[in-house]
Symmetry: C2
Subunit: 409 residues, 2 copies
């Protein structure tokens, strides 16, 4: 992944004027001439941040009325990029509508990428972010994959820290609650040619959210899906881009109609497990060698390099209590493990839920039961799933010391 | 394709409330109750069209300054859709910015699809469209693939006819010139959950364009690409959705940098030819059986069902002068045909250019020369490529009678 990205970076930087020249000769030559005379494009800079506070502050909803991504805080971050001048002054402005030409690239060719991260308020009232460097790095990689501009990751982190401090009243001070942050980059060149956008907009909006599972875990049933695919080698499965999501909605509707909450996305002739809904996928089992092992599919280009995924791998490797593997897993292996009572737990992992326990998989017209907690028939999550959840939650709220939790100060 | 779509349609219609119920229980139950009491959602209706003319009409650019998709006409069509109320009154309004909440689905999950079509002015001054029914049907299929609403195709065609008549001054009356039309549908639900959008916007903008090749054909060199893929089975390659385009830009920049104008998108272990840039791909050759044959890849789900593609197949089949096939073609077959001097012509096909002659393919570190016109060493297109271009052009401008050319009256 990082090798791929770092090899792309110089290419994209160097290539953009050439590509433009091929596609639109006169304009591009004009641009190139202008670029030679013009100063270096500006970098995104937190020091330049301008804040305009709202004159009509809203009241956050009561905790029990919070629905993911439906209500938003008073302000938003906006910064615009232009091929010639670089990044504009970043601004925190009152939350409000974007005004965009209908010809903008984002409306036609899906040139858009985003991140999902959260700001947490700890018991002492400090505001914390969880591994923001991971989100910033991924946003840069996603942007480059779509020929959009890169930015200085530390600068955007600084701007976000100032933003979450300004939006403090929007971060519920209760464990499990947080302010969901949605950094987004869209291509805003007002023209219909398919090519690198000469303009982009970076914005961050924020939505107060409650725990994914309001009253303890609720394990989900999955419909294994091999007719529709989420990603493919040579595609964008490892980037967080809009076009990865749109095609999943109709199959998800279909799965819901059949009574399954999420899709287990399979790939290839051997029905390899890839992701669960919009989450990474983990299997905890006794492998064929008789070892306890936690397995998740490897970052082969079709898997989103999830921050929660990486955190789970890091934590469990540090624990050193069982084998931890990133490798391909097929449905045949899962079925065999289930038949041989070697399947221990399965869960999805992502920012929204941390972990999401799985209780069943519909595959080839059969229901495969996934164990939850054998010691507790009414439990909705297995012991490892729970332990991972509690550990990450503890880190996010500053109760377990970790460099992953970054205080906004 | 049509089998797939028709099987999806009732599913999507029926499934939406169920899916919403699974994803967001309280809200969806409220919606379902409202739906039971409310009248049937409104259909898109041309009879309801409201026209607000601009008070600041612009002057079209001189013909020689027209660049594809950079300047737009005075007005645009807009219609909004809501899950509860259906289609709003369609409007023709002055061309202007869209005002959208930054949380709208279109900015995050690539839920957007579009069409490309043209309005032509014939010698008698009549305004003509080319097979608009094909574009309307495809837009509906693309929208359904992304769980967006469908519309009555005849109604939108009627609205577009009224629009192009209003924009008459924007259609240059010269052969090869036209008014490019961009019908677009975007998902506008202001919330971050990944699911079927409860709101959508349909708009049509128009850009006056000149001929793709300003002074006769210019044949292109292709870079065969098998590391990045345009589409795959179980994806959205057969729908005209934004997410198909964003991932192609960076590889296109890379190809341009190496001196190739377009990418030849390959697929699979046998390097099957799929598309050329954003065009369908045609090969004219003497096949292994010694027959003259025009071949284009079949609509297997990874190929866009192009209007120009379909027109070329229809025309050449009607001519009955050579075999016409929709079947898979591998690079090995092309290389063999080239070595055996059986390769006659290759071209891309799409609305922008009608046909785009191909002169070379870079494949596995070798340059494969594709013949243009053996009878004329300076020609930039082969005889079949030229004949197809002239025939379709003749139909589009009403010079060759055909039911494909529809007069807006």
């Amino acid at each position: 992944m990082s090798r791929f990205v770092s090899s792309m970076r110089p290419l994209l930087m160097a290539a953009a004027p050439t590509a433009a020249r091929a596609a639109r000769p006169v304009f591009a030559r004009h641009l190139a001439a202008a670029a030679a005379a013009a100063p270096k494009p500006a970098e995104l800079s937190a020091a330049k941040l301008e804040i305009t506070k709202t004159t009509a502050p809203k009241t956050p909803l009561p905790h029990n009325e919070l629905v993911f991504g439906r209500s938003f805080s008073d302000h938003m971050i906006v910064a615009e990029w232009d091929q010639k001048t670089g990044w504009s002054t970043p601004k925190i402005t009152p939350y409000g509508k974007l005004q965009l030409d209908p010809s903008c690239t984002v409306f036609h060719y899906g040139v858009e990428c985003f991140e999902g991260m959260k700001a947490y308020k700890d018991k002492a009232g400090k505001i914390r972010l969880f591994r923001p460097d991971m989100n910033m790095a991924r946003l840069n990689r996603s942007a480059l994959r779509l020929a959009m501009p890169s930015f200085d990751q530390k600068e955007l982190t600084e701007i976000i820290k100032k933003f979450v401090k300004l939006e403090e009243k929007w971060i519920p001070q209760e464990k499990g609650y947080s302010l969901y942050l949605r950094p987004t980059m869209i291509a805003t060149q007002p023209s219909l040619g398919v090519g690198p956008s000469s303009k982009a907009m970076l914005f961050v909006i924020a939505s107060p959210v409650g725990p994914y599972f309001k009253s303890g875990f609720t394990a989900v049933s999955l419909l294994a899906q091999s007719s529709y695919l989420r990603a493919w080698p040579g595609g964008t499965g490892d980037a967080k881009v809009g076009g990865n999501y749109a095609p999943t909605i109709m199959p998800q509707v279909e799965a819901n109609k059949k009574g399954y909450q999420q899709i287990l996305w399979l790939f290839g002739p051997n029905d390899e497990l890839t992701e669960v809904g919009t989450m990474n996928c983990f299997v905890y089992w006794v492998n064929e060698q008789g070892e306890k092992e936690l397995v998740t599919p490897p970052l082969d280009g079709t898997i989103l390099p999830g921050v929660t995924r990486d955190s789970i791998l890091g934590l469990t490797r540090k624990w050193g209590e069982f084998k931890v593997s990133e490798r391909k897993l097929t449905m045949a292996e899962i079925v065999k493990a289930s038949n041989e009572k070697r399947l221990l737990e399965m869960f999805g992992a992502g920012t929204a839920c941390i972990v999401c326990p799985i209780k069943a998989i519909r595959y080839q017209d059969k229901d495969l039961v996934v164990p939850l907690d054998p010691a507790n028939p009414t439990a909705q999550a297995g012991p490892l799933t729970k332990r991972i959840n509690e550990t990450i939650l503890g880190i996010q709220y500053g109760e377990i010391p970790s460099e992953w939790s970054v205080v906004a100060e």
